[in-house]
Symmetry: C2
């Protein structure tokens, strides 16, 4: 096993296998690896933060992999170094991982300026999110200047990804008339842009229609904090039509937000968010793993549901129990 110092040295010189091994360390649930991974992260922190972090979400079937392959290939052709990560808690429930199969990005996986990492497995979204967020730091320290983070638009993971990226992109395809059907509540609100994929062949007319519907829908939301009005674009990951324009739009967003300073205040508030979020998760885990609480919780919930005890009294009882030995 390489030492922390060796891995740090490797990462900072852009060695891919050191990066991969360090991420494995970060993802490890083995407590022996915790102090090593903490040491690596703290050493990489001063070298991190210089990338553009881009979140990409969309329900299964929308073509996230081919889109990332197309965008990633475009980026490397512009001389960029691209890392692709994933937040996919569903993979732990063996519903199939979004990035588990690297062969879904056959071009990018062969590309020396691209680094693809499947979703870490963890029992909780909090765990997956933490590991992904620390992997971002390692990738940045290894010199990757564009980080693409993929997630599935069906659970709570979009909120987590939204809280770790500079730009959040919602990928869609045209459907059966009502284009807005099936979008999880809140996802449209989080999007900095909507991109309608598979704009090719017979589909183009429908795509233009969908663009209108989404543009209207986006106008129903209050303006964003930075006054950005999310645009609706389309592309074909097959013909690469529209991919260049999407990247140009994202770059314009980043540049103008860096000028206004929003880019930096946004990152700072994200850092603070993750601090408070981690504390909250820890407090909850500690409480619900307490053996007294474990033994009583179900009974208490049932009594509360049945109206036999008020939720507030039940909470007080459980909290008292959690403090007893």
């Amino acid at each position: 096993m390489p030492t922390a110092a060796e891995l740090i040295q490797g990462i900072l010189t852009g060695d891919r296998s050191s990066l991969a091994r360090a991420i494995t360390m970060v993802e490890s649930t083995n407590t022996k690896h915790l102090s090593i991974s903490n040491e690596i992260i703290e050493a990489c922190l001063p070298h991190s933060g210089k990338s553009i972090r881009l979140g990409i979400t969309g329900v299964p079937g929308v073509g996230k992999s081919t889109f990332i392959e197309a965008l990633g290939t475009r980026l490397t052709s512009l001389g960029k170094k691209v890392a692709v990560l994933a937040v996919d808690p569903s993979s732990t429930l063996s519903k199939g991982s979004i990035l588990g199969d690297k062969t879904r990005m056959p071009e990018l996986v062969k590309n020396n300026n691209a680094f693809i990492r499947p979703s870490p497995s963890s029992s909780s979204l909090g765990g997956v999110a933490r590991k992904t967020r620390e992997s971002i730091i390692l990738c940045e320290a290894a010199g990757y200047d564009t980080i693409l983070i993929e997630t599935v638009g069906v659970g709570q993971s979009e909120t987590a990804v939204h809280s770790m990226v500079d730009f959040f992109l919602l990928l869609k395809i045209t459907g059966a008339g009502d284009e807005l059907q099936g979008i999880k509540r809140g996802i449209v609100e989080m999007a900095d842009a909507i991109v309608i994929n598979k704009a090719d062949g017979q589909n183009i007319k429908q795509v233009d229609l969908a663009k209108l519907v989404f543009t209207k829908a986006l106008h129903l939301y209050p303006p964003k904090e930075n006054n950005w009005v999310p645009p609706v674009l389309s592309c074909s990951s097959l013909t690469h039509q529209g991919i260049a324009e999407i990247w140009e739009m994202i770059q314009n967003y980043i540049t103008s937000n860096q000028k206004s300073g929003y880019f930096y205040t946004h990152r700072k508030s994200q850092n603070k968010y993750w601090l408070l979020q981690t504390i909250e998760e820890h407090l909850q885990r500690q409480f619900y793993q307490n053996s007294n609480v474990k033994n009583t919780l179900d009974k208490m919930i049932q009594e509360v549901i049945d109206g036999k005890i008020s939720p507030f009294s039940a909470a007080e009882k459980l909290i008292r129990l959690s403090k007893e030995r």
Copy 2:
């Protein structure tokens, strides 16, 4: 001071002054009153739950008081007993309480079948919400069969009110063209109906237009759990035009949801929500009031914001500190 037994006896026989005094006890921050109020609530619980709980939200100026006055008067004319409560955390910051001034409901306040209670003052939304939720129990035990809970649609209080009512009504007025402007994110999604107030005089044409806009907007959201499609209605709290229809709509909702069983499962999940919510609030309060945490938190937040330490390491440090003496 009356004993808990006296107050319980009074509440269960519908004595208004016992109810008022018991609510004062529930709202008290004096720890001496805690065991008495707990005793009262536990005694009232078996007699509670038989009312219809209706949440009413809307930004200041929308006419919530006159609407509640009109609806409440309609309800008492139908033989109902109406209690009006408020969740208004803003009042504690002396921004002015929504129900603080009872004279804003001159008719209802004289009505023997109506009970109006201003918003409790508390330093936190959690505190206000808890007190309101326990007051609902006392009002129900005192025989009130319709509970109206008012809140201001500008903060986090709508989520709290939404989690304690059977039906959530969003009150609006017509504005300057874009009717959806200024609605806080998420509130439209929570609404079981939108009612456009002040549909009188010169305003009627604009109201009809606004109804169209809102109906369209509501169709952009995914269907509700119980497949209810929130309707858009209008009324004049001045002429009482439309008030009867609004109540009829709410009654139809309640009846069909009671038939389907959704009414009851919804209440049960609300009870469970309040149990978990109370536990969460307690854990957070306990952590952030710890003196070690208090002394270090700001410094840690700054280091995290500045990227000097990762949010996860900072969280670990703070948690360790919270356990030291």
